[in-house]
């Protein structure tokens, strides 16, 4: 312990503002306590969510406290970032605050760890979180559960920061499950609708399936490596057998956790349903931050994944399959939030392609740009839904405010949102110079390059050479890029272009959201446009290059180099090849947009109520390949029926209690009855029995 203290003292960040790192999560926790308290106080008076209630009594305080803690947290994060830029740090800055689970040789501390990777995540979480908090003030202010909303949102940020700042797997797991809890609470925020409550529960349980994998990974680590903190595991990782069963198993179990949290096949099913929550929640939790936790976990565990090429192949392949699978579903959704939800699933797939092939920076880069443009898309959609709601509210009609068939021509009413959403759309579609182009290109280029030369290419997945798998992943990624461009353009066309289908009376009430909502949109728009400058490729002379690569070098440099079998920094393929890849990517994106403009006719759409059913494959897509139904029939119903009919009624009530327990008592009663028959009370009978007994005993003794 003394030695540790001395070692930490020598860290370049010692004594700087970084010592306040604990305050980063504590500020939002404070917000949770205050807003939660106000929510409870308000309840004693009014009762939450009662239909008649108007704006909450404490809405004023909450509107200040809720976003303010995020602003402070972001400011602190920026200050710490400044200190980190000044300091030349190779090792992470670690602070152990107290012993959490000290049991023999398992010593788990409540410890935080600050390094370059954590810093990127902290900036995204607090920065974009701050914008979404501010947006929420406008979006949620009239909700009777307003303080409760901000309490949950603050609590979410607390857990998310614990997740990215934790210095060991168990502390990370606290954040991991904590954000799942907040997601559960916020999806089911309007809990009086069964659909919402169902969606929240589904999210939690599906995530738990993933968490089971995460737990097993931790157990394997402790049983075979003996430590659970990142530094310790990192130090031990090189001495594990490269590509051995152990490290592969650890990585695969861990990835099961990632598949749950980050909505990958086969556990993605909860995320589309999660759109039941308020739209800012979808932006913050189900697009920008929480769902990327799985990507973060793989990058954080790069020292393990780079030792397990087969696991890397699995991650990349699942990522590629998820990307295309979700993108196809996105083609046929009518609910604007569902389009974005499947788009998120698909984009998360890209991130996993990145981290799976060992291009950790590329994965994180896409995580950052995605946080901007998807956050913007969700908030923009939120603005539209907000306007639609207000319009229907005015005319007292109960139509679906999220269905694109009820929208159309919104650019006339919401020009700013329209422009900003197009920026985000171009970014996600991969049109230069918007941010998504750079990050997506880097991911795809990495997959292509690694297919040629890497430890992954040399490995085999079910007998298939890794190189082949990665070329397939590259093609999947490219195809998904085409679909992304199509479904996003479709969404824009149907929502903002053509004529308006909301209704005659409603049109007069459609208007742009207030500044408290558009302000954050503009900020995110700037990010969506320019975040690509964080990591420009060497080939494009637009400014400083590989900034993010250099920044993350101390954390993921060595694992990246190990996987790529080349010197760190990438760029091992020829300039000509790189230009070709970029051109292909641009061609695909432009092709998708052009195709969508050419084929889709928003003028032909009719409102939802008058729309015909889909047919053929379109119907399959609209019903999301019936995966929910299949899961229900294959897992949920059989488990329930097995438990009820066989285990409870059969085994418990029937076999154990009926036959064995009460059977025994019936037997005892029966014997008692025989006994009582013997007690006739007649002396003669007793005498006979006595004689028989004596004879029996004597006989037994003599005949022995």
């Amino acid at each position: 312990m003394m030695l540790l203290q001395v070692a930490s003292q020598a860290h370049p960040l010692s004594g700087t503002v970084a010592e306040w790192v604990w305050l980063l999560p504590v500020l939002p926790l404070l917000g949770f306590v205050i807003n939660g308290g106000l929510a409870l106080l308000g309840l004693r008076a009014n009762g939450d969510a009662r239909p008649a209630a108007g704006r909450h009594t404490y809405a004023g305080i909450v509107s200040v406290v809720g976003p303010l803690v995020l602003v402070l947290s972001f400011a602190l994060a920026v200050a710490i970032f400044g200190a980190m830029r000044g300091a030349h740090m190779e090792a992470p800055f670690i602070r152990n605050y107290f012993d959490w689970m000290p049991v023999g040789d398992l010593q788990i501390g409540a410890a935080l760890q600050l390094d370059q990777l954590a810093m990127v995540m902290v900036l995204v979480i607090t920065g974009i979180g701050m914008l979404i908090h501010i947006f929420s003030v406008g979006y949620m202010r009239d909700d009777p559960g307003y303080p409760r909303y901000f309490a949950y949102l603050n609590l979410f940020v607390f857990f998310m920061l614990v997740l990215v700042l934790g210095a060991n797997y168990p502390v990370l797991f606290v954040g991991w499950e904590g954000v799942g809890l907040c997601s559960y609470l916020l999806i089911g925020f309007w809990f009086s609708d069964k659909v919402n409550a169902d969606a929240g529960k589904k999210a939690f349980i599906v995530n738990r399936i993933g968490d089971f994998g995460f737990l097993i990974a931790m157990f394997l680590l402790f049983a075979h490596v003996g430590v659970l903190d990142f530094r310790g595991v990192e130090a031990a990782a090189p001495s594990l057998a490269f590509g051995g069963w152990l490290v592969t198993a650890i990585c695969l179990f861990m990835f099961l956790g990632c598949a749950g949290k980050s909505a990958q096949i086969p556990l993605y099913v909860w995320l589309p349903d999660a759109m039941a929550g308020p739209t800012p929640v979808s932006a913050l939790i189900h697009a920008a931050t929480m769902v990327t936790a799985g990507v973060y976990l793989v990058a954080r565990s790069a020292f393990l994944f780079s030792m397990a090429p087969v696991a890397g192949l699995v991650v990349a392949l699942i990522g590629g399959l998820t990307a295309i699978f979700a993108a196809t579903i996105g083609l046929k959704q009518w609910d604007i939030k569902k389009v974005l939800a499947y788009s998120t699933v698909s984009q998360l797939g890209y991130m996993f392609i990145g981290v799976g092939v060992g291009a950790y920076t590329a994965g994180i880069f896409h995580l950052v740009t995605h946080a901007f443009f998807k956050g913007l898309l969700f908030l923009g959609a939120g603005s539209v839904i907000y306007a639609m709601h207000a319009a229907y509210h005015h005319t007292h009609r109960h139509e679906d405010a999220q269905d694109m068939r009820n929208m159309g021509g919104m650019r006339r009413f919401m020009p700013l949102t329209w422009v900003l959403m197009w920026i985000a759309t171009l970014a996600i579609a991969g049109i230069p110079p918007f941010s998504g182009f750079f990050s997506k290109d880097e991911v795809l280029a990495a997959a292509f390059t690694r297919a040629g030369q890497s430890t992954l290419a040399d490995a085999y997945l079910f007998g298939v050479p890794g190189g082949t798998v990665l070329y397939l992943v590259y093609v999947l990624g490219l195809a998904s890029a085409l679909l992304t461009a199509i479904y996003m353009t479709r969404m824009m066309l149907y929502t903002f272009h053509g004529s308006n289908r909301t209704g005659e009376g409603e049109q007069q009430h459609l208007r742009e959201a207030p500044w408290v909502m558009t302000g954050p949109l503009v900020a995110l728009g700037v990010g969506s446009a320019f975040a690509g400058w964080l990591n420009l490729p060497a080939i494009l002379p637009l400014g400083p290059r590989h900034t993010l690569d250099h920044w993350l070098e101390p954390v993921v440099g060595a694992p990246t180099a190990l996987t790529a079998q080349a010197t760190a920094g990438g760029g091992e393929h020829s300039a000509g090849m790189e230009i070709t890849l970029i051109l292909i990517a641009i061609l695909v994106a432009v092709g998708g947009i052009v195709y969508a403009f050419a084929r889709l006719k928003p003028e032909r759409l009719v409102p939802k109520a008058d729309s015909p059913e889909d047919e053929g494959f379109g119907l399959v897509l609209a019903n999301k390949y019936y995966v929910d139904e299949v899961y229900d029939a294959a897992f949920v119903t059989p488990t329930y029926q097995l438990s009820r009919i066989f285990l409870w009624k059969g085994v418990d009530t029937g076999l154990i209690d009926g036959l064995m327990v009460n059977g025994t008592s019936a037997l005892a009663r029966g014997l008692g009855w025989v006994g009582s028959r013997l007690q006739t009370g007649a002396t003669g009978t007793y005498a006979w029995v006595l004689v028989a007994g004596v004879l029996a005993v004597l006989g037994a003794v003599t005949l022995r």
Binding site: W100, V103, L181, G188, S192, K201, I205, F219, F222, V661
Partner: protein, 536 residues
């Protein structure tokens, strides 16, 4: 604090005092009860009975609380020891003492019992004084089990504990209380008699051959094992029967749902929080140290670990389909206690510590769940989950509490339930990787049954008119739940002080059983030594 306590001789009198205070309180209650029953104003008498019981149990808690500081975590010896002759002719002595395990069980008991009085405040209206007197006697019995270092004394306490609970269920219980109480009594009594025979055998065998006086000293039996392996196996079987029913282990659990459902709220709480721990405590204190060879016999161990894992999954699945919320909680106990048994028989320091943590956490969380069921039952007179729906809008404080307690029971990290589950699983994984992996699926099922249940109670549309005017928690109920919530969060965030107090005892147990069974010591295994520079 420790110096002050020792200066008043706390160590010397605290354990006997903890046994005497409740009994004295019970006598007081019976005296005042027989007087007040004759008075016209029975309500007044009932009220004073409640106040007396509550006062006595608060005093009991405060007295016991000193143990937290007077206890020396580093010492392996019995603490606060008491030893005097009791029935010399039969070699029975009045020997008390605690280790870290007993310490936490005692504190759990004295913490829960006053809350049980608060929880019975308005729900028990008949024979109030008798009810609370039984509860006080029960307290002494339970504490005695945790303190006893004489096998015979232990058995006496074991039975003292059984009888009041039989009456509490049988008199103040629900509609099928007679069936439930008799089932409870026979189910737990029969194997206890087997254990009595085993204790007599042990005591007589360890006795002085010259005088023929038996010797029931626990320390002597552990220190001087003289049993042949076959005899040890039989005796272990007798102890196993008594404890396995109490735990309850699958398939000896079917008394539990009936007893829980029929018992009054406080009865359910005591059963779940404390009496279920008697079984696992018995394994830790008696069955394992006395018969290490039998308990760690590969077949025995394999069977018990298998039954534990079955219990975990089976309990969770059956809990999921219960229409009655009390039964759901009862089956969830089967699942939780399965984790405890797995941890005990995996026999690593982490798994045993985890088992102990679950024993504490389950006591807190499940107790809290039963209190909440009782609170809502008092208002709506239904335990059926389908009677509710959407009541979070009507009773928001209740909703917050039920959600929090459920999350703690699910094992959400940051709350108490996680610590024990994690430690059990992480510790059991090395000796039993397959069983532990199966057991870990329990975390999924636990989320499924509890979240589904609270959704159907708290969330969904508020579609039943009779639920629209349920009053929320009153101040007494808030006062009852607050300590539980505080402990739920404290044990989840900072369990280290509790773990440290139990570590010496847990380590001693693991070492002693391993040695007795001839197992290789489970020293930190062939691990890659990379502790330097690691953050803790």
């Amino acid at each position: 604090m420790r110096e002050f306590l020792l200066s008043v001789g706390y160590d010397a009198w605290v354990l006997p005092a903890l046994l005497i205070i409740p009994v004295a309180g019970a006598l007081l209650l019976l005296l005042s009860g027989s007087r007040s029953a004759r008075e016209p104003d029975a309500d007044q008498g009932n009220h004073s009975a409640r106040m007396i019981a509550f006062g006595v149990l608060v005093l009991e808690f405060l007295v016991s609380l000193g143990l937290w500081w007077s206890f020396d975590p580093a010492s392996g010896a019995w603490q606060a020891p008491v030893d005097s002759a009791w029935i010399p002719m039969w070699g029975i002595r009045f020997t008390l003492g605690i280790d870290g395990i007993a310490l936490m069980m005692i504190l759990l008991t004295t913490f829960i019992m006053p809350l049980c009085v608060l929880g019975s405040w308005t729900s028990v209206t008949t024979k109030v004084a008798t009810y609370f007197a039984l509860m006080l006697i029960l307290t002494s019995g339970m504490l005695g089990v945790f303190m006893a270092r004489d096998m015979f004394l232990f058995y006496v306490m074991w039975e003292v504990m059984l009888i009041p609970m039989y009456f509490i269920i049988g008199i103040w219980g629900g509609e099928r209380r007679i069936y439930a109480s008799i089932k409870f009594f026979i189910y737990t009594m029969l194997p206890s008699l087997l254990m009595l025979v085993a204790i007599l055998y042990l005591g007589i065998k360890a006795g002085d051959p010259a005088t023929g006086t038996p010797n029931f000293s626990y320390d002597n039996l552990v220190a001087n094992p003289t049993l042949a392996p076959a005899a040890a196996l039989w005796l272990f079987g007798a102890f196993f029967a008594a404890f396995a029913v109490k735990v309850p282990m699958f398939p000896f659990h079917t008394w539990l749902p009936d007893a829980h459902v029929e018992a009054p709220t406080a009865g359910s709480v005591i059963l779940a929080s404390i009496m279920l721990k008697m079984g696992t405590f018995g394994f830790l204190r008696f069955a394992l140290p006395l018969f290490p060879g039998a308990a760690m016999h590969p077949t025995v161990r394999g069977v018990i670990v298998t039954l534990s894992v079955i219990g975990i999954i089976y309990g969770a699945l059956v809990a999921m389909v219960q229409p009655d919320f009390k039964k759901l909680v009862a089956y969830s106990s089967v699942s939780h206690l399965g984790f405890v048994m797995l941890g005990i028989f995996a026999l690593t320091l982490q798994s045993v510590q985890g088992a102990l943590m679950i024993m504490i956490s389950h006591g807190i969380s499940t107790g809290a769940l039963f209190f909440l069921v009782g609170i809502i039952y008092e208002r709506r007179h239904s335990r059926l989950i389908d009677s509710y729906g959407g009541i979070a809008r009507v009773v928001p404080v209740f909703a917050v509490l039920l959600t929090l307690v459920s999350l703690s029971s699910i094992g959400l990290p940051g709350l108490n339930g996680f610590i024990g589950e994690f430690l059990v699983l992480v510790g059991s994984f090395k000796p039993y990787p397959v069983a532990t992996t199966l057991a870990a699926t329990g975390v999924v099922f636990a989320a499924a049954y509890l979240l589904w249940a609270i959704q159907r109670i708290l969330f969904n549309p508020l579609d039943k008119p009779e639920n629209e005017s349920i009053p929320d928690l009153n101040w007494r109920e808030v006062a009852l739940m607050t300590p539980l919530v505080v402990v739920i969060i404290w044990l989840g965030v900072y369990p280290a002080p509790v773990l440290r107090r139990m570590e010496t005892a847990a380590q001693a147990l693991v070492t002693q059983v391993e040695k007795g069974a001839g197992l290789p010591a489970s020293a930190p295994g062939p691990r890659i030594a990379v502790r330097a520079g690691a953050a803790r």
